[in-house]
């Protein structure tokens, strides 16, 4: 069985699902502080649905872009909520960016992160500093773009992506929410990490682990 790109992406979603599952209670607790305490449940539900949908694909005969498209519909239909449209749009943008690509090079991986962030920004009409998942995704994208500009290899790129995302998520503690339900809390949202930013870090870490393992030695 060849380890093609679609298979790698399917494994990536599988890893994300496991990681989200492991962090489910923590995410829900973070959400309980400033939201309705269901972020962990929602994310877990969404990625479980993605897994079930990808299991139905014949991965030997599937383009990476098709994996993202399937993931988008499965996630959206299972979740709704606000994370549904946001991540569904992110996955759709990633699918559009990949088009017919089949190799998933480091540059492609950077493109995926960038496209996902664009999708989330578009759908949520949000920006950096709103205390949302974008506070992890935007710095992650900047790190990816920088790494691509200096032709950094995969491992180096992913290290810097994750570092930036973690720093970004941590910085949400000192922000006042501007979007989502937490926005109604005003200054009471201070001091709490945004659960969406926390789950973004989990997702990016699982992506790093997946792309990291397949990196050819140079």
């Amino acid at each position: 069985m060849s380890d093609n790109a679609a298979r790698r992406l399917s494994r990536m979603f599988y890893r994300i699902s496991i990681a989200i599952e492991a962090g489910k209670d923590h995410l829900s607790d973070l959400d309980g502080a400033i939201g309705d305490a269901d972020h962990g449940i929602t994310m877990s539900l969404g990625f479980m649905a993605v897994n079930a949908e990808l299991a139905k694909l014949n991965l030997d005969d599937t383009l990476p872009s098709e994996v993202f498209t399937a993931a988008a519909s499965a996630f959206l239909d299972a979740v709704g909520a606000s994370t549904g449209p946001l991540y569904a749009t992110a996955f759709r943008r990633a699918a559009q960016a990949l088009k017919q690509d089949e190799c998933l090079s480091a540059a492609d991986q950077a493109m995926i992160v960038e496209a996902m962030t664009t999708g989330i920004k578009e759908r949520g009409k949000g920006q950096r500093g709103d205390k949302t998942m974008l506070d992890a995704w935007i710095p992650a994208t900047e790190a990816a773009v920088n790494a691509r500009a200096r032709s950094a290899g995969g491992p180096e790129m992913w290290n810097s992506i994750l570092e930036a995302a973690e720093a970004g998520a941590n910085s949400t503690r000192s922000m006042v929410a501007a979007r989502g339900r937490a926005a109604r809390l005003g200054e009471r949202s201070l001091g709490h990490m945004d659960p969406g930013a926390a789950s973004a870090v989990i997702i990016l870490r699982a992506m790093k682990d997946t792309f990291g393992e397949g990196e050819p030695a140079r």
């Binding site: 309705d36 269901d38 449940i41 139905k56 014949n58 979740v79 909520a81 606000s82 449209p85």
Partner: protein, 698 residues
């Protein structure tokens, strides 16, 4: 061993330290009370209460010794490796294929044939899954018969077993008739056979038979099945499907030539689980694959290496949601689907020990009426669809999209409402004549997805456009906007009114940013009446906007709510605190204050409402005093009493009022007060007749 008198024990101070125990430790345990406690518990099988007596410490300390002993590795609890591995395979299968449940029989137990072990496991599972009142469709096969031989489910009432396919003239022990009757006998259920052959000579004969009233009624029973039990047959040369004589071998070859890999309930599927067309299709009498997929719980029992492709195809096709197999087959399925390495990595994952020692009387969970917490929404909707059958029906079989039975009609603007669950009777209780035409239902406190909302728009559309009315939350806005885009592609014009009645959620200058809460009740009523009167889409939208602008709500929570999945409070409100400006999602309020009297709370709310509403003497209003879930009617009337006093003191007339559970937040303790400032038009629409499960006027 000596036992101290209780009076002496009560004086002993207890700490989780080694020296704290008031009873000298018997020599053989060294100076380690942990070892002592563990010995008494695990080797002498004493209760924690008895151990506390003997050691002269409290039960809570015993409990914490036992927990610490596990954390420190003094006690290791080990599962037999083969059982552990079958457990982790089951967990993987469940996760990977999104199954409802999965049971994997350990593989290294070779004392009995696989088919018997699978049958035994499935018999146990069936005893757990089969409930009174169920209708179980039973397919045929060696495995199914093995289940029937081992199952016994006492104490069930009103269970019906329906044979899932027609019968056969072939002479083997596990014919459809025998399988169904054996299961029915074992669980003492009513049996309904399909009294026609499974495969007939021509399509004409099949059609004739299906028109027979007797067979029609048998199929009617089959269509009512809420659970299904079946085996999965491989098409490999050594498979019994070839030798049984159930199918003609010529036909089998044709299905094989078209890449069929397996047979489920007498139907052929390919490697991806898609139906394979072939010569028997229109000569087969039995459950169709679509009928099978529509059944809620679909239990497949199958094992053996040769069946891996067929089982994988069944999983991919979504025909099964409870799989019972053996460890070797389970591993094979995962391998075939490319999850080998992860499987290994998973088993090496370090275990996280969540054991926290708590006093024995400490409450960690809220009690709720639940079966599986993950099924709450589906099970509630099952109940709603039945309970409110006079008012609503599912759209295309989905309980997530409900349409009014006497709602949509040509020439009328359609009204679609919706949102997350947990607010019942909002939103689904307001569907019916003169109110909403359709409702889209999401997960708990989560917006429904665009697809569901579009189904509602489509069903509600009478050619004059559709009005969406929903609360202002980021998730709902995104999903309803996406649904409106899909509707536009289908030439359905959609207008949207996002409700923003919660005056506590944002200051007046950011009125558009406010959330929609219990005031939805009034906005839905006004919009529904406008639509029912045949007003244009423009007019319906305009009057709903006016209702929204003139409706003011503020809520107060005394205790938080708890999600069914966690059964814990989402956050804590201190013993003497209340949350003012509470929303309907368990999100914290805007200000936390000390508890005060009912009148003082009502006054806080009414002062704020008056400051925005700016009423004049002689004005008319409608009032809603709404419970957040756990606050009783008694207290709601106390609040209403004060609301009425404040309004009449300003010479304002209450045109209509409602007191009760109208827009809740699970089991939150608290209430909200809503006032709609009426004018002539709103008054008229408020009194317009409507007939729904929760609200009936006229």
């Amino acid at each position: 061993m000596t036992v101290k008198t209780s009076s002496a024990r009560k004086n002993g101070t207890v700490r989780a330290g080694a020296e704290a125990a008031s009873e000298p430790i018997p020599l053989r345990y060294g100076d380690d009370p942990y070892v002592w406690a563990c010995w008494l518990y695990y080797e002498d099988h004493m209760t924690q209460g008895d151990i506390a007596e003997i050691m002269g410490i409290s039960r809570a300390t015993v409990n914490s010794y036992l927990a610490d002993a596990r954390a420190r590795g003094i006690v290791n609890i080990s599962l037999e490796p083969s059982r552990l591995s079958s457990l982790s395979i089951a967990q993987e299968l469940k996760r990977h294929f999104g199954l409802h449940d999965c049971l994997v029989v350990p593989s290294d137990d070779n004392t009995r044939p696989l088919i018997d072990r699978l049958g035994g496991a499935a018999a146990q599972a069936l005893a757990k899954l089969l409930k009174s009142g169920d209708t179980l469709a039973v397919a045929w096969g060696r495995t199914v018969l093995a289940i029937a031989e081992q199952v016994s489910v006492p104490g069930l009432q009103d269970v019906t077993i329906v044979q899932a396919t027609g019968g056969t003239a072939a002479s083997f022990a596990y014919t459809p008739e025998l399988c169904a009757s054996a299961i029915a006998g074992a669980v003492k259920a009513k049996l309904i056979n399909i009294t026609a052959p499974a495969v007939v000579s021509t399509a004409e004969v099949r059609d004739m038979l299906l028109r027979e009233p007797l067979i029609q009624s048998q199929f009617g029973a089959l269509a009512k099945a809420n659970k299904a039990l079946f085996g999965i047959s491989s098409l490999r040369p050594n498979s019994t499907i070839h030798t049984s004589g159930f199918f003609e071998s010529v036909s089998l070859q044709q299905y094989l030539a078209r890449d069929a890999v397996g047979v489920v309930a007498g139907r052929f599927i390919d490697g991806q689980g898609n139906p394979v067309a072939g010569p028997l299709d229109d000569r087969t009498i039995g459950i169709s694959l679509d009928m099978l997929k529509a059944i809620g719980l679909r239990i497949a029992v199958a094992g053996g290496f040769d069946k891996v492709p067929a089982i994988l195809a069944t999983l991919r096709g979504g025909y099964v949601n409870v799989l019972i197999t053996d460890a070797a087959t389970g591993r094979g399925i995962l391998n075939a689907d490319g999850v080998t390495e992860l499987d290994q990595k998973l088993s090496q994952r370090p275990r996280v020990d969540n054991t926290v020692a708590l006093p024995s009387n400490y409450r960690t969970h809220i009690k709720k009426f639940l079966n599986d917490p993950n099924d709450v929404v589906e099970e509630m909707l099952d109940g709603v669809v039945k309970a409110n059958a006079a008012y609503v029906m599912p759209i295309k079989g989905s309980h997530r999209a409900l349409v009014a039975r006497t709602g949509p009609r040509p020439g009328k603007v359609g009204l679609v409402v919706g949102g997350g669950t947990g607010h019942e009777p909002c939103f689904l209780g307001y569907v019916g004549k003169g109110l909403a035409d359709a409702v889209a239902v999401g997960n708990i406190f989560s917006s429904p997805p665009p697809g569901t909302i579009f189904q509602c728009a489509n069903a509600a559309s009478g050619g004059q456009g559709v009005l969406f009315v929903y609360g202002n939350y980021a998730g709902d806005v995104m999903n309803f906007e996406m649904a409106a885009e899909i509707a536009a592609e289908h030439n359905i014009e959609v207008r949207t009114v996002v409700t923003t009645d919660d005056i506590a959620s944002s200051p007046l200058e950011d009125k558009e940013g406010r959330r929609g809460v219990a005031g939805n009740f009034f906005m839905f009523k006004i919009a529904g009446a406008a639509c029912d009167r045949g007003l244009s889409l423009d007019a319906c939208e305009a009057v709903t906007r006016k209702a929204n602008a003139r409706t003011f709500t503020m809520g107060v929570a005394l205790e938080p709510c708890s999600m069914p999945q966690t059964r814990r409070h989402n956050f804590e409100i201190g013993p003497d605190d209340i949350e003012i400006g509470m929303g309907i999602h368990g999100e914290p309020g805007v200000i936390r204050e000390k508890m005060m009297s009912a009148d003082a709370i009502t006054d806080r709310i009414m002062d704020r409402i008056f400051s925005e509403m700016k009423p004049a003497a002689g004005d008319h209003v409608a009032v809603l005093v709404n419970s957040f879930g756990a606050t009783p009617m008694m207290e709601l009337y106390i609040l209403f009493r004060r609301v009425e006093q404040r309004l009449s003191a300003k010479d304002i007339t209450i045109e209509a009022n409602w007191v009760g559970h109208y827009c809740t937040s699970l089991d939150m303790v608290g209430a909200s007060i809503t006032v709609m400032h009426l004018d002539a038009e709103l008054t008229e629409l408020l009194h317009h007749p409507c007939d729904t499960a929760v609200l009936r006027i006229g």
